[in-house]
Amino acid sequence: MPERKPQDNHVLLVEPQAMLRRTVALTARSLGMAQIHEAASIALARQILRQRPFDGAIIAVDDGDAVHDLGLLDQVRGGDSASSPHMPIAVMADNCTGEQLAQLKQRQVARVIVKPFRAKILLEALASLARQKTD
């Protein structure tokens, strides 16, 4: 059976900032790291997650308030998506309290990325998700 290449991995990136999202998607493609599917909002991501399977996801969970929106995580972990409920997920958050970190751990979040959000950090997280997928 042929070995699966990193660029065959499909990863969902949920991030409202268009420049950051686009830069990560295009750079990941140019480096052959993964195929990034972009979602500008959690609502759009919810639909996309039901339409096709992914090998991983990077999700911005801030909703403009101090409260994290964990609905997408619950959707995946609860089996309400076309992906494995155990797919690796990294989360982006403006900040993260101890209580919030515990909530994320409970949902098997592989990595928490806090501000400042940089394309380089997201790409490194993407590489880390790909390694988890192959391990």
Binding site: A18, M19, R21, L26, S30, L44, K120
Partner: protein, 173 residues
């Protein structure tokens, strides 16, 4: 100092630049957002879209400099357009091409420079998207790829009418 050289296709290059009708036009948000992103992403005090005119480099977008242009002879970008890939000067003070350049020995005291040439499909290097720091540094492979991506976004904007860009901005998340 080694003055910025002139490409063999200079006449055609300048014709391609002038055909864009972009020199000396006002700032535009579609370019500024890329340059501001580059400045933040790479944590540098200066980021520019520099277009190389016959005797000057003119900045279409500019973070961190008060000048809107400098002479072409002292420009780093004038060197960067001579090649297809990104030109990195890790420490200008230790580089014979730039060590006594007035942009290095005086304000803005450039030490690090990375310039991605803006090359049209016809092969004309119009200028660069560049990042500048006042301390020596390097770029790793991921950072080089990010700068190359941002260069591509600048080229998309240079080659698309303003109206298309506005429509994209409105539909983008």
């Amino acid at each position: 100092m080694i003055a910025a050289p002139t490409p063999d296709n200079e006449a055609e290059r300048l014709a391609a630049l002038y055909a864009l009708l972009i020199l000396d036009t006002p700032r535009e948000e579609r370019f500024d957002r890329i340059v501001e992103f580059a400045s933040t992403e790479f944590d540098v005090p200066i980021a520019l879209i520099s277009l190389i005119d016959s005797e000057r480099q003119w900045f279409k977008s500019n973070v961190g400099l008060t000048a809107c242009e400098t002479g072409r002879d002292v420009s780093f970008c004038g060197h960067a357009i001579m090649r297809g890939d990104i030109m990195v000067v890790a420490d200008a003070a230790a580089d014979v091409r730039f060590a006594d350049n007035p942009l290095v020995t005086a304000s803005p005291h450039i030490r690090f420079y990375a310039g991605a040439p803006l090359i049209t499909p016809q092969g004309h290097a119009l200028g660069t998207l560049c990042i500048i720091d006042t301390r020596p540094r390097q770029l790793d492979d991921i950072e080089m790829a990010i700068l190359s991506t941002l260069r591509g976004l600048v080229m998309q904007e240079l080659q698309s009418p303003q109206g298309d860009a506005d429509a994209r901005a409105q539909t983008a998340g």
